[in-house]
Symmetry: C2
Subunit: 355 residues, 2 copies
């Protein structure tokens, strides 16, 4: 089995190194091939997603991704900026289902800005559609405003859209995920304002007929943002579109106060996937050896479970991560008095040892 | 001066009554005229925004609005649903600037789900553009998908758009508001993905040239959602589009844990405005006399300040609200041990007395 390893920029390489360490001690003969992406892709080949990198990702059974972005690329034209690599990979590999768990380990409850009783033991799964919506809809651009009171002026515009089949397939992913958990699914929409999301809601209701054992409810996105702050533990699985999912999954991640712990998976229809930590490239701490590698290690665990058919390894890695937390080991981002402060590489070694 | 009073549905009438009480003791001869809106408009005239109601709102110097919506109208066709009245009023009255303060009174810090040190003394102002964006953009609807892998299927679609003049005018409102506060403005966009918001960002940077005394920074909407949870007190004024503003202003309101305290103003270019509490119609507690009227009373204060040129009355009302909190009076939504629980009408009376 072949894994494409794309470390990227900032802390990407250091954290990916730790996940690779962990993968190497599982006793499997994974073929791991590295390629540059993001700013590193631009440096190496003049493009954030070099052709060879895309080809490697397409040929591999799974992709392990670090993070991309650095201030020094902020002045490049948009098509050359690091984050375009993420969008390009999602679209080219058809990674339409983004799974973003927001889990708060009881040991880390103090790290949250929310009161412990509101978030301790939080375990929600946000499923974000990842290849449709206003992210990719055409037409888009800057044009002359065609009508209304601003007619003749320049205007920026984009197209939000979801086709029936796009909604159906993410609905199935969501209902099936809910079925494996507490059997409660919240579909987040803005059906009171947007045609796209009235349509989304109608299809969700239709697909629900095939999953009578799952309870479905609908919530407007503004209310969902409020309920995540008010009582996040009430949610089990949430499903929403690309744009709303971008906002809500980040908000949910931040509720835990330990975004350095949160993995993510982006899957296609055949469970091929790209796995990456939920946090960014943190250029301010890059190269200092203090980044938290656990989100990336847990992303590798998701990869073993969803794309490589090795759920037992995934379970072992997740248990090992829990063990190092119980041992009191903490990178600076999650450090608390009474714990032992460790660096990126020491944390990786500790997980290997706990395995 | 003429004030249109639109109580609406659910708790709307009870809370508006208290604000009217307060307005009556100021010693001004406001002409107050009532009209039905939302579900009440539908009952009275078959439409959530009856023509006579719209005309009254257009003729008045300001509009005091309660809340709209009730489960019993959920099955109506979208154009007849209560919330269409809000959208109709915004669009017809050109209320493009929505001011949503998120303030946490120190007395109420315990009501928040966030740790007191994270939110106590919170005082941010979110300025949401209210008549543009994907809320009103055309074309929109359900059509046959014209291209791509889902060609021929049905798809829901909407148009996001902002014209230059629309962005400029909300930018001016935001810079001027920041100038009266801590002189820091955060423009929230998604310029890394959306053409509309790259354009938005470019115009913000251009308008900034006229306000060199205000510090402007730019933040992606997903990051803004995170920072509101992580360190909300770092913000002073935030400005964003209609859709992002809908989500972020509600999230920010919920940070305080006391959404029953938060007023809002929606202004046109001449400071005519519609004023309403940030919370909804709460049909579950309607008629019970327990709803918190303070958000509506504070909305009336904003009305006096922005639309009626009576800032001194606004100051007095705000001081009176602080006084009743200091006295320990609390409606059930903000009740804590050691305080005195009061109902809607008692709370209104207490504010009148404190004046
Ligand atoms: C970098 C950006 C294009 C991306 C997105 O908006 O999807 C990021 O925020 C994410 O959530 O992975
Ligand atoms: C009721 C709805 C149309 C409205 C909106 O989305 O603007 C509401 O959520 C608000 O924020 O006032």
């Amino acid at each position: 089995m072949k894994i494409a390893i794309l470390p990227g920029d900032g802390i990407g390489p250091e954290i990916v190194d730790q996940a690779v360490k962990v993968l190497k001690v599982l006793g499997e003969s994974f073929e791991m091939e590295f390629a540059p992406v993001g700013g590193a892709g631009y440096e190496a080949a003049g493009h954030p997603l070099p052709e060879a990198t895309l080809k490697l990702a397409q040929d591999a059974d799974a992709v392990l991704f670090g993070a991309v972005g650095d201030w020094k690329y902020d002045t490049l034209d948009r098509p050359l900026r690091p984050e375009q690599a993420i969008l390009g990979l999602r679209k080219n590999l058809n990674l339409f289902a983004n799974l973003r768990p927001a889990i708060l380990y009881p040991e880390l409850a103090g790290a949250s800005t929310l009161k412990p009783e509101v978030v301790s033991g939080l375990d929600i799964l946000i499923i974000r559609e990842l290849t449709g919506d206003i992210y990719f809809g055409q037409p888009r651009g800057v044009r002359e405003c065609p009508d209304g009171p601003f007619k003749g002026q320049r205007e920026g515009f984009d197209t939000m859209r979801y086709a029936e089949g796009e909604i159906r397939r993410i609905a199935h992913v969501a209902f099936q995920a809910a079925r494996k958990r507490d059997k409660r699914l919240t579909s987040v929409d803005k059906a009171n304002v947007l045609e796209t999301f009235q349509f989304w809601k109608d299809i969700m209701i239709d697909v629900h007929k095939e999953y009578p054992d799952v309870a479905l409810d609908h919530m407007y996105v503004d209310n969902a943002a409020m309920q995540l702050v008010r009582a996040p533990k009430k949610f089990d699985v949430m499903v929403t579109g690309n744009m709303f999912g971008d906002i809500l999954s980040d908000a949910a991640a931040m509720l835990t106060g330990s975004i350095g712990m949160l993995p993510s998976a982006s899957l296609d229809a055949n469970n091929k996937g790209l796995y990456e930590p939920s946090h960014g490239s943190a250029p301010d701490i890059a190269g200092k050896g203090i980044a938290n590698p656990l989100a990336t290690i847990l992303s590798a665990a998701m990869m073993l479970r969803y794309s490589l058919g090795k759920a037992e390894h995934a379970d072992r890695i997740e248990a090992a991560v829990k063990a190092v937390l119980t041992q009191g080991l903490r990178t600076p981002d999650i450090f608390e008095d009474g714990c032992t402060k460790v660096g990126t590489s020491e944390m990786g070694d500790a997980v290997v040892k706990a395995l």
